[in-house]
């Protein structure tokens, strides 16, 4: 693996060397740091809090016009050739890994052209988590604070400088554009930091046998108990890097309209409500249960992976303190 170092104060220069790309990064917006398109290099905020709005939207936008139409019914397809080569800078390893879990969904039997257009043109430049957050549990679910899965380049914060690990050909191409700022490095220096970061993760769960356990618990009263605390706000799904459910709606003015894809949430009753009034998941119990089953059983049945990367956002952001790890532990103990 090729490894470089970059002095930290050269980061703006590094990013400006990549001006051919549209750059997304953690950006300071008032009191919050959000993941967004970077207009001014000075706005990059590497003091990464657990970015509440996740980098998922760089590839799977929260609102996305699929096509537009006029009153005569002439349909104009969104021009996907206009999607620019993009760099997502400062993404956390868990969030980068989440795209590898979204890929089989959006590729699947019928590939999704919108997802593919952005995914194929987006490079992921991650920052290793030296200081995992309080609810991080990536190491319990196949990830790590220094995980490389899904990334093209990994930045490691080594004090005054970053160590850059080149992971893919795309990563190599990108470092090539800023080569004058980079110096060759030795790889072993980061291993201690990686171990220290992993040791800082406080939350753990052994998921062995969970899908099999869930198979026998579908009708168990425990779901009603779990869901009784839930207020159905949907933040667990909106903040989840592996959730992908969407709605399609028409937005119209007098002269024209467009069909838009927007993020949806399985925690809302309207999500499954039939026009007849029948709802196959009529109460929060069924909706809560479906969310857990989708992530920890159905996704395993379909794609041989959990639909979760252990980022811990659903735990940290839940307004009524529903703790996924506690609940999964309880599932494992339930008879």
């Amino acid at each position: 693996m090729t490894t470089y170092t970059l002095p930290k104060d050269k980061l703006p220069e590094f990013l400006s060397a990549l001006s051919d790309y549209e750059i997304w990064a953690p950006v300071k917006k008032g009191p919050a740091t959000l993941f967004d398109r970077l207009d001014d290099l000075k706005d990059v905020d590497l003091d990464l809090e657990n970015q509440p709005v996740i980098s998922k939207k760089a590839i799977f936008p929260q609102n996305e016009p699929l096509f537009s139409y006029d009153r005569k019914g002439t349909v104009t397809e969104t021009d996907l050739n206009a999607v620019k080569n993009t760099i997502v800078f400062g993404i956390r390893p868990c969030d980068a890994r989440s795209f590898t879990l979204l890929d089989p969904v959006f590729e699947g039997d019928v590939p999704d052209p919108y997802y593919r257009a952005r995914r194929s043109k987006t490079a992921l430049l991650g920052i290793a988590c030296n200081d995992p957050f309080v609810n991080c549990f990536c190491t319990s679910i196949g990830g790590s604070p220094f995980g490389r899965e899904g990334l093209d380049l990994l930045f490691i914060d080594c004090g005054d400088l970053f160590t850059l690990e080149v992971i893919t050909e795309t990563g190599k191409e990108i470092t090539g554009k800023a080569s004058s700022l980079l110096s060759p490095a030795t790889a072993e220096s980061s291993e201690q930091i990686a171990q220290a970061a992993t040791d800082k993760i406080k939350r753990h769960i052994d998921l062995t046998g969970l899908p099999e356990k869930l198979a026998s618990l579908f009708e168990h009263p425990v779901w009603k108990e779990f869901a009784s605390k839930c207020i159905g706000c949907g933040i667990c799904t909106y903040s989840c890097p592996t959730c992908y459910c969407f709605d399609m709606q028409d937005e119209t003015t007098l002269k024209q309209g467009r069909r838009v894809r927007i993020w949806d949430s399985c925690m809302f009753p309207e999500y499954t409500l039939h026009a007849s009034g029948h709802n196959p998941r009529a109460t929060r119990t069924e909706r809560f249960r479906n969310r857990i089953y989708h992530k920890f059983k159905f996704n395993m049945d379909n794609f041989h992976s959990y639909s979760c990367v252990g980022c811990g956002r659903c735990i940290s952001l839940c307004p009524v303190n529903i703790d996924l790890i506690d609940y999964l532990s309880r599932v494992k103990e339930t008879e």
Partner: protein, 274 residues
Amino acid sequence: MNNPYLPQVAKIIDVKDEAPGERPIKTFKVVLENGNSLNHRPGQCAIIGILGIGESMISIASSPTRKDCLEFSVMRLGTVTSALHECEPGDTISLRGPYGNGFPLDDWKGKNIVTIGGGIGQAPLRPIVQSILDNRSDFGDLTVIYGARSSHDLCFKDELLALEKDGPASVHLSIDAEEPGWNKFVGFVPNNLLEIKPSPENCIAITCGPVVMIKYVIKNLLELGFTDAQIFTTMENRMKCGIGKCGRCNVGHLYICKDGPVFSYDTLKDLPEF
């Protein structure tokens, strides 16, 4: 690459008041404006809609053996179906598909076929009936069991009565409650099934209707000696994308839009939520 979200344009060539009841049903005959065929299989669905309003997944109510048009029988219930009910011949709608697996009719050749429908649930069963009538010698006996709330809610009444009279199939209609002038079965479809008692010998039974009806029909078919693998149903859920991505139509780990809508009871009985 092919964009699965882009609809085609279809022209309505005929609108029929199929069932004028409290929840009215209209049957729309449509043709694709580019003259192409949809190349669907019986039991598949299409997403039809109106630009500016939205889309709904609707089963294709006609067999691919009837090549002059596609038919959709639509109950007026929500925003999209209400707007469709305002449409007249000559209007255009959006159409994409076909979606789903369809019925394995090739596997059923040489067998006796029983369809058991309730209400608008006869629409997806109709292409089976038509396909068998159009390839009559490929199949054994055809029995159509169909019921609705009242005689005003029965779909395809004229063609089913004609079929009963002409004899290529045996037809058993029912309504839920007594009505003056109704001399056929009165009661729920699962009970009519027990009256008729089709033999499970070399037979496939396919049912579609309200969920509660499907459950009792399956129970009664099992009672009559049908095995799990001889029973099929076709299901519905709210859908948006039609290609297994938007998430909402799942039953267990399967998506009705792409893994269904046709399921054998063999598969279905192990799925949670059924």
